[in-house]
Symmetry: C2
Subunit: 205 residues, 2 copies
DNA sequence: AACTTATGTTAGCATCACTAACTTGGCAAG
DNA sequence: CTTGCCAAGTTAGTGATGCTAACATAAGTT
C-alpha cells in the first residue's frame, strides 16, 4: 500500500493527516446525520477520513467524546440560528420571540439527528462539561430575549419563569414533530400556527 | 455443565424454558431501566434469563423487536396511569386534566429509561406497528378527556387542537425535566406549579 | 412407537470499541 | 547537517456483540 487512500476524504499524501481531529468530527457529524447516532460507528468515520481505526484515540478519549463535541457544536449552531431569528424581527418584540421559537422547531426538523443527540439520547453525553456549557449558553440567550420583552412590555412576574414556559412549549413541539407523533394523533396540524397562537398566552405572567 | 444455570433467573431444570419470551422481556426491561437503552445488550438479557445468546431469535426478529415490545408496553402503562389520574379527580374537570398532565411528567421521571425508549431514541422503533398503535391509543385517551372538558365547559375552538397544545407543553416539560435542563437554566423550578399555572391558559380556545 | 414441530444448544462469522507496541516524519538543539 | 525527541500515525490483537447455521431435545400427535 504505497499509494495514499483511494477514496473518500484523501489526505495530502502525508503519513500524518494534519487535521485529523476536525476531519473526524466532520465525518462523524455527517454519518450521524445520515444514519442516526445509534447506528454510527467510529470505524466508519475512520474509513471516511481515510485513517486506521486506531487513529481517533490520539485525539479523543473514546467514541462518546466525538459525539460530545458534535452535540456541543449543535448547541452553538442552535444559538446562532435563534439569534438570527430574533434579530430579524427586532429584539424585545413579540414577533422576535415567536421567530425564535419557530427557529427552534425548524432546527429540530432540519438537523433532526443532531437535535436528538443534543437532547436525551445518551444521558452520559449531557454530563460532559462542553455540552452543558454550550447548552447553558444557548438557553441563556433565549431567556435574555424574553427578559428584554418582559421589561419592555411591563409584564409582571418572573421573566425567567415565563421564558422557561415558552421554552417548554416549543421544546415539546420540536420533539413531537420530529417523532412524527402529531401525524398519528392530529394529522395535518400546522405547528407554526399553533406556536404563534399559543405564544401570547404563555408570555402573560 | 450438567447442572442447570447457577444464578439469576433459573429455569425449572428443563431444557425448554417455557416462558422465555416473557422472561426475556422482563430481563431486558430491567436492564434498560438500570443501564439505559443504549447500553443494553441482548446478551446480558440472555445471561439474566439463563439461556444461550441464540435463544432470543426463536421469539424475536432481532434486538429491536424486544425494545419495541417494551416501548409498546410503556405506552400501555402510561395510558393506565393517565386514566387513573383523571378518574381520581373526575373526568371532564380541569383538575382531572391537570392531574393527567402531572401524571405524564411523573411517568417520565419514574420510568425515565422507558420514557426515553418510547420517544425519539431509535427512530426505527417508532415505525413498528405495535409501538404506533399503543402510542395512538394512549394519546387518544388524553385527547378524549380534553374533548370532554371542552364540551362540558363550552370552550369554543377545536378540542383536538387544544388537547394537542396541552400535550405539547406537558411533553416538553417531561423531556426537559429528565434531561436535567431545568436544573441548568432555572434551578429550583417547581414544574408541578408551572404546569398547574399554565394549564388554564392553554385550555382557552 | 414414530413423526413433527417448537424451542432450546453449540459453534462460528463479521463488526465494533479499544489497547499495546511499533513506525514515521517534522522540528529543535547541538 | 545530524541527532534525537515526540506527536501522531500504523498494524495486530482482544473481548464483546448481533446474528446465523446446524444440531439436539422434549413434548405432543397420530
Amino acid at each position: 500500500m504505497t499509494d495514499g487512500p483511494i477514496k473518500d476524504m484523501p489526505r495530502k499524501g502525508n503519513y500524518h493527516h494534519g487535521e485529523l481531529r476536525e476531519a473526524l468530527i466532520a465525518a462523524a457529524r455527517q454519518l450521524v446525520i445520515e444514519r442516526g447516532a445509534e447506528h454510527f460507528s467510529l470505524a466508519d468515520a475512520c474509513r471516511v477520513a481515510g485513517v486506521s481505526t486506531a487513529a481517533p484515540y490520539r485525539h479523543f478519549r473514546d467514541k462518546d467524546e466525538i459525539l460530545e463535541e458534535i452535540a456541543a457544536r449543535g448547541f452553538d449552531l442552535m444559538a446562532q440560528r435563534s439569534m438570527e431569528a430574533v434579530m430579524a424581527h427586532g429584539p424585545g418584540s413579540i414577533e422576535g420571540i415567536i421567530a425564535m421559537g419557530l427557529a427552534y422547531v425548524r432546527f429540530a426538523t432540519q438537523e433532526t439527528a443532531i437535535f436528538r443527540l443534543m437532547f436525551g439520547q445518551n444521558p452520559t453525553l449531557k454530563e460532559a462539561v462542553a455540552v452543558r456549557d454550550q447548552g447553558h449558553a444557548c438557553f441563556s440567550g433565549v431567556i435574555a430575549q424574553v427578559e428584554a420583552y418582559c421589561a419592555r412590555h411591563g409584564v409582571e412576574g418572573d421573566a425567567r419563569v415565563i421564558a422557561v414556559k415558552l421554552w417548554t412549549f416549543v421544546h415539546g413541539a420540536a420533539c413531537l414533530v420530529i417523532d412524527g407523533e402529531y401525524d398519528v394523533v392530529a394529522p395535518g396540524l400546522d405547528v407554526t400556527a399553533m406556536i404563534t397562537a399559543a405564544a401570547p398566552g404563555l408570555l402573560r405572567g
